[in-house]
């Protein structure tokens, strides 16, 4: 348990004050969503219909950008070797790193979803549910992303490769997240979104740890 906590603490601290760039994805997200009204023009009805789901696309891309260095740095500096010698299973340590990423990047992105959704003409009453759905969606994105980050840890400039591996698996959360953002069948979509997050959280760390063990060779 202590190893999991210390891993979480170290990763969280490195993302916020170590130049790990927790703010960069946030800036990307807000920048991308604020460009949408500029591109789509001043038709409020059009924006209200097409805008809120774009919050989801921007959030997915913002989280992708954080994945490349997640395990690559550990592989390059020798930290991964040490993680493999811990009495705590690598799966748990990987989950701790994912949790740190969610707290440092996922949660702020979900909260930033509120102003972004309002700017894209989402009804104010929908905003709380959009934020909650984004928080769930971020958990799913990050848990899936762990696998992509682990598989490509040894690849230089693996960012594009991560996107190719991971984006197809982002489809379910995007579909149901966009449904929530548009206010369609919110309860059902939220339940499925929660299911996506839980399923990804259960399987992602196991697959990522298996890939990392191979990387250590």
């Amino acid at each position: 348990m202590r190893a999991v906590f210390e891993t979480f603490r170290r990763d969280f601290a490195l993302m916020w004050n170590g130049g790990g760039g927790a703010l960069a994805p946030l800036g990307f997200f807000l920048g991308a969503t604020s460009l949408v009204p500029l591109a789509m023009g001043s038709d409020r009805a059009l924006l209200a219909a097409a805008g809120p789901p774009l919050v989801w696309i921007a959030a997915a891309l913002a989280v992708l950008a954080t994945l490349e260095r997640l395990f690559q740095a550990d592989l390059e500096d020798g930290s991964l070797d040490q993680m493999l010698l811990s009495p705590t299973p690598l799966e748990a340590l990987v989950l701790a790193k994912g949790a740190a990423l969610w707290c440092a990047v996922g949660l702020p992105l979900a909260l930033a979803g509120a102003p972004a959704a309002i700017a894209l003409q989402a009804p104010a009453a929908h905003v709380p549910v959009i934020v909650i759905s984004l928080a769930l969606g971020m958990a799913a994105f990050i848990a899936i992303g762990l696998v992509g980050a682990a598989v490509t840890a040894g690849v230089r400039r693996g960012g594009v490769l991560i996107a190719l591996i991971v984006l197809p698996f982002f489809a379910p959360p995007i579909i149901f997240g966009a449904a929530v953002a548009q206010g369609e069948a919110v309860a059902g979509a939220m339940a499925i979104l929660g299911g996506c997050a839980l399923g990804a959280l259960a399987l992602g760390p196991i697959a990522a740890a298996a890939a990392l063990r191979l990387q250590a060779e």
């Binding site: 190893a3 906590f5 210390e6 891993t7 170290r10 130049g19 070797d81 040490q82 010698l85 009495p87």
Partner: protein, 207 residues
């Protein structure tokens, strides 16, 4: 468990008929040796002769092509050893004491971190981020990892790299203390480390 011998049972390491391949090329084959409590085995050989591969195979990172690596007197092989490789395993933005706290958590060690820091000569650098450390200081910090959680088998890959004369003396004393406590040390070296090895393994150059 005596005070001088912290390890529950005497650790024993046995390697029999070990062959390791890297990138499809056989690095060495038929390697056999054994180590018992208090032993210090020196690995010598030219660059590319497989010293690192041997250490990484024993640590469990590399799957050997054939042969057996067995441990006695330890519960779980991967949990009974420390591996100090070429890479120090440091995060540039994290400071010295944060590294030690993290490792103590990672390896479930319960030791006084301040004592470990001064033990490796980093007592005055506790709040320095790793990026501000010199090469030698970074190596000392990596050496401190050996002390945050007592483990019977140490695998050291050129531990003296980047260290000054004092640092070399430090390594020699760490190895001596570890042997006295009944530990096993396996080190790849180019220069003698100061502690008299109980065995020297010469890895032959195959290129």
């Amino acid at each position: 468990m005596g005070a001088g011998r912290p390890f529950r049972e005497e650790p024993k390491l046995k390697v029999a008929g070990l062959s390791v391949a890297r990138g499809g090329r056989l690095v060495f084959e038929g390697m056999s040796f054994g180590a018992e409590a208090g032993d210090f085995i020196e690995l010598r050989g030219a660059n590319g002769s497989g010293k690192t591969s041997l250490l990484r195979a024993i640590a469990g990172y590399l799957r050997p092509r054939s042969g057996v690596i067995s441990f006695e007197g330890v519960e779980e092989p991967a949990l009974c050893l420390h591996y100090l490789g070429h890479l120090n395993g440091l995060k540039p933005a994290s400071n010295v004491s944060a590294h030690l706290r993290y490792w103590a958590g990672l390896f479930a060690g319960a030791v006084d971190i301040a004592a470990v820091m001064s033990g490796v000569g980093l007592g005055a650098s506790a709040d320095l981020p790793a990026r501000a450390l010199s090469q030698g200081q970074a190596r000392r910090l990596a050496l401190a990892r050996l002390l945050v959680a007592p483990r019977p088998i140490w695998l050291l890959d050129e531990p003296a790299a980047a260290l000054d004369a004092q640092g070399r003396t430090l390594i020699a004393s760490l190895i001596e203390a570890h042997r006295e406590q009944g530990g096993v040390v396996l080190a790849a070296v180019h220069e003698p480390l100061g502690s008299a090895p109980s065995q020297t393994l010469q890895l032959s150059d195959r290129t």
